[in-house]
Symmetry: D4
Subunit: 230 residues, 8 copies
């Protein structure tokens, strides 16, 4: 049985809930990813593949080249992601998202969120190194933060950034725990539970390292107008 025959992809997702289907690349082989992208090509749909190492991305690219399908495939280094198809026009009417991170080590997760938003036409800016151990860095950036409609806050270690942030500003804040740490914070559990236990009201949380999920949650919020008029 060929790899391709297996795929029962959720092509109707965009129509149904306004989000493109994304392919979680971590537990898939390059062959499985290429088979899915080939179907995207046939249906002329864009596709986003997350959690791909550079080596796997190169193999996927080579496999599609054999089918002469590699043209619109793009590797996003910081986000560890692959996009297939032309990225859409920006939709400024939806507003902007700010993706904050406590330290340099949060960059991959933050970039995944940024890429996933850009893949849906939403502009998102990155603001790293605003961890709460040096509070003046965050306080000094509040003017840049205030005009954004949704905030995604990534943090490892004790994960206090989203809590402090949600106590300072009125926007929706989506916390993304990051698997950066050691000892009790290894794997991101402590950051996750710190965000869930937050004393700041109205903070919501996604799974550890789930930059993509935070972006989709932001997108659901930004696209809410279409709901109202239904």
């Amino acid at each position: 049985m060929s790899e391709r025959a297996d795929v029962r992809f959720d092509w109707e997702r965009e129509t149904r809930i306004g989000l493109c289907e994304a392919i979680w690349g971590e537990h898939k082989t390059a062959e499985q990813i290429a088979a899915i992208l080939q179907q995207s090509a046939e249906r002329q749909q864009r596709a986003l593949v997350t959690r791909v190492t550079e080596a796997k991305a190169t193999t996927v690219q080579a496999l599609l080249r054999q089918q002469q399908l590699e043209t619109p495939l793009q590797w996003h280094e910081h986000a560890h992601g692959l996009s297939y198809g032309v990225l859409p026009e920006a939709r400024p009417e939806l507003g902007e998202v700010m993706v904050l991170g406590g330290g340099t080590s949060d960059r991959t997760v933050a970039s995944e969120a940024q890429l996933a938003l850009r893949f849906h036409g939403v502009t998102a800016e990155l603001m790293l190194d605003v961890g709460v151990a040096g509070l003046h860095r965050l306080l000094g950036q509040l003017p840049r933060i205030k005009p954004c409609r949704v905030l995604i806050a990534c943090a490892g270690m004790e994960g206090a950034l989203p809590t402090v942030l949600a106590g300072l500003v009125p926007q929706p804040v989506i916390g993304v725990p990051v698997a950066v740490g050691y000892g009790v914070s290894a794997g991101g559990r402590t950051a996750l539970e710190g965000m869930l236990a937050s004393c700041a009201p109205g903070l919501t949380v996604v799974n550890i390292d789930n930059g993509y999920g935070a972006a989709m949650a932001a997108l659901r919020i930004l696209q809410i107008q279409s709901v109202r008029t239904t």
Copy 2:
């Protein structure tokens, strides 16, 4: 030192982030709650107390009566909450919220979310008994769900309701794990982790039984317009 001297209440919260401060009643004595409400009375501010047993509520009421302050105090039986001050006018321009629950046992948490929204002028409807083991019940309610701007989905046991819901509709879905269960699901951990691990994109989650937090997250989303124009 009297109880009252102790309180350093966050009275500026509403101005700063658009949410009224709420008093988490579970770990406070009736005397501590009454002391805080007395300050509310002096500042002519409304206040919401969550997680209060009926017995504790009655004691608070008696304590305030001694100060002739009990008039605007109201006990909300299903939500296990106390509100102090006249509830605000409804703000229909913000849109409606639907609070769903897998079973009858989710009602307290769902009602807490409903009360916290009403306390901020937002109308929220309850829809219980739509658990995924009898899927037709949820599918049959989709027409009522679709016009709502934000969905809050409460579930205990395996907590699959928000996952199935977020795969069906485009709105922001906030999952609230409920501490209803036994064995591996006792305490709500399994429901929480099931929601965080969800294969549905863009679902966000709050702490176990945190109906109030889910309501505040919904309120941040609904009030987003004011952010845009800033």
Copy 3:
């Protein structure tokens, strides 16, 4: 002491409980596996080895070739398994089993179940990509599912597939949590506990990634007639 002298294999298992002994290959060396298969050859018994990497399988094959015993050894790529001996005739009177999986990443586990059933003469079909985030995919396959006598449902992430399935159909459903996920779902614990906590009545569960065990549970069910007549 030679490897072989060590083995006290449960050769009587098939007579006693109707299931062939299988060799769990993960924690055994190629030499240990080859020594056991050599005994199978001497006793003219079939044997199934699970959880073997391709490299280890190749080494086993080479070792048996030295003994001129490699002929009936077969490598099953998708299932990561080795079978020794001629596979038995199909036993259609036992009925069919359907092995479902939420996504492409569940294939190895699902294939292990399929292989273990085939090794006992039971036909099992694979149906992947029916995860609950796109519910229409599962609902559309119900007609194919209904004639099967036992259902094995493999799922990682939040593991909701067996719950939804067991709410829709009357057959025995055996849930197999799969170690596919990240953050809270890494290692398969969340899927496992979600299945155990299921609100659907009569769902049973096996250990994480235990496709073989699910197959043996299905086989016990299918062979139940022989019990009745005892």
Copy 4:
């Protein structure tokens, strides 16, 4: 809003999957249970309520008496359950189930399984005190065990009973971990994980103390004939 208006009961369950809906009584008030049973009365359906204390059962009985509906309500002391409606005729063609328990402390869980089966017309016998620390007790009972079509094995502490049993006999064995123990075995986790980790092939497991669930799994197996002929 009255309690009754809330109920969206899954009345079609029996038609759909062949199992009567049961009411999990633990997290419900006597008033909520009575409201559901009142609907059962109107629809002339039987109902089973599990995990009810004697005190709660008495209150439910009193509430139904006010509606003159108490006649077919029956309290099952060992199983901590309430049945509403006349129990069905025995269906000997389905075969018998044996419910085994390691010790006296497993009786409540074992009796719940027995009651749930009887509620569907299946005869189940109880066999307690066959724990593996005194192995001769179990070995001496094998002749009584062998004619049963499905075995439900309840055990607390280290939970080894189902493992030993599944190594001795060919029938489907459903392990039910029981929350009997202290220290590492308090709450039933160790029994649960011991059953999942079992070295005996084809053992399946349900949630801790889930006698009802084990009974429904057995019922799905016994009713499999109807599937075959579809």
Copy 5:
């Protein structure tokens, strides 16, 4: 054997390490506590009993009254502690300690630390309601915090207070996680791990609710001069 014969109390502790022995009252009966205090009386040593409920304290008082030993016994309501013997003179040369708390619910733990310090002659001030969700409250108190030589920071929920504090000031900060919370923060684990995982350098931590231990750690620090001159 009488209760008294059992006691092998560490009377030399003060000479050896400069800290009075304290009696952990939680798992002891009033009779056991009274027996120890009677020995204190005979040796003319002061004693501190922590974690005593008001009812148990009253019983201890009554038991000592029978021996005419109750005079110097004092109940400390906020700290849930009993002190036996005249409290020592203040030792201002050691410097002051500030005990901070995120919210009103941290008071018992903070008061235990304050009492244990006072029992050794150290003045400690309490500063509650400076949680990080309303950051201005803490920032406004920095001038009062700066002159203190050691800071003890108590916090439940996500436990971020000590992290933010240790990023702002140079003193030793001892974090005390408090068992105030629900869901993931119930029992104080999340606060504990958040403090251990802190991104602020040089924060140390004691066990959950261990106000007494934090006080003894502060005392070791304050008494360090005597070490230097040895």
Copy 6:
């Protein structure tokens, strides 16, 4: 600072408690191990190094050869251990130990126990493949087990072997959980807790994979006569 200067080895252990000091090799470099063995040579003491890979053993051997000290160094393949110095005469008056294991995968741990006993002059026999899923294998070996004075029972997966064994025979049984398994049994936790939770009276347990510790516990028991006469 040379590696050697660091070592403050417990050379008096044998005199004090009758057990030779052993070197836990897992977290030490070959250089650190060689430095310790060099000191053994100077003091003319025997030494045992556990948990050494073959590669590390070879490096140690090479390092000692440079010092012309390698002669009495011996690599024990099955036990993954190194012994330095001539092994002592057998002490048959202490009695024999039997080391049992559920399956082939328990051999390394069982062999470590055997080697550590032999290093102290005690004869220990290995008996593998007596897991409880095929009970007849264990029952058939009881005559060989009965003359042994102490039993060490190694088991992974659900770890039921020591429980069943301790229910059958009167000797001291020391359970050794083995880190063999997957899913819930990965890492040996389930086996460990199953042994601790055992319903068989008088079973004691050591840490996961701690064959050496079990051997030392057996040795303490066998050497008990010298205690009596003191």
Copy 7:
């Protein structure tokens, strides 16, 4: 069905493994306990019931009085145990056991071990308050400890007592973790894992609070002579 009909008691245990069967009283009702003791009376066997509250013991006594069977029933206050039948003569030839405890709070567990040994004719002495935070207390008792043949060391909190003890003396040391503590040590887990992780060689461990189990392990060791001569 009467309570009595249910009991399949392991009466042959003493013959088989030299230990009397004991009844774990915690999860049994007074009626269930009385029914078992009534059988003891008929068979003229002694019986030991552990983990009985004073109230339950009184009820059992009353129930047996109705049968005129209460004469040899004895309540042991410190051990929370009931013995039925005349306690046996002391067997000094087996040697003595010392039961040590870190603090006063370990007394119940230590007393249970003492009672269980006395029930089998073994003399055991109690030595409490020898915790490692005041090391001189333990060091001062070594002369009393040395003549004992087996040591049982009970400790809560961090559980370091058995580790320090096993480093000082050559006898078998059985660690009993005690559920005394708070925060991370609540429930006894930390003490248990500290004992299992011990750097002292040859320490073995039983379940939390399992004084009875430690006693039976000591008894197996003391009765080892009978094994030798077989």
Copy 8:
């Protein structure tokens, strides 16, 4: 975007809290580390990088050499750290710190603490191999320990060293759990919880393997004089 543009380093930390910022090297690439050190060079600030493998250190060195900035970069082999800039003069007026370790395997963590102190001008001595299983080793070193002002005690396995130490001497003791162990002690959790649960009063703890954090806590204590005079 170049790596450098990203860095928002906390350069003011030393002025604010008296501790130099350190760079946690584990989750950063050599390129990210080099970019930060380049900024250090421009600002003429010293910098400390912890948790760097030798290979990564070499790459950083090569990258800085390209910028002709490598001169003051120094690799510290035992501590796995990099220092940039000239190490400061010793400040003997602050007093000395002793860093103790249970065994040879604690050396990396202990050395990290030593290096971090030296980087701030504080002299710290290492004392390894004083684990509690051979207590005489620690007791023999007390004279060397007593003159030190602060003690840092590193221990893996059961982590009892800081407990025993804090019971013997009056100084501040900072416990550092070390991730050395296997089975239940793998990863350092057991050592951590043992230290938190300690029965010795006034022991504080940092995260597993956090030698740097313990050093900064010691530094805060040693620098306390400047606080007093403020």
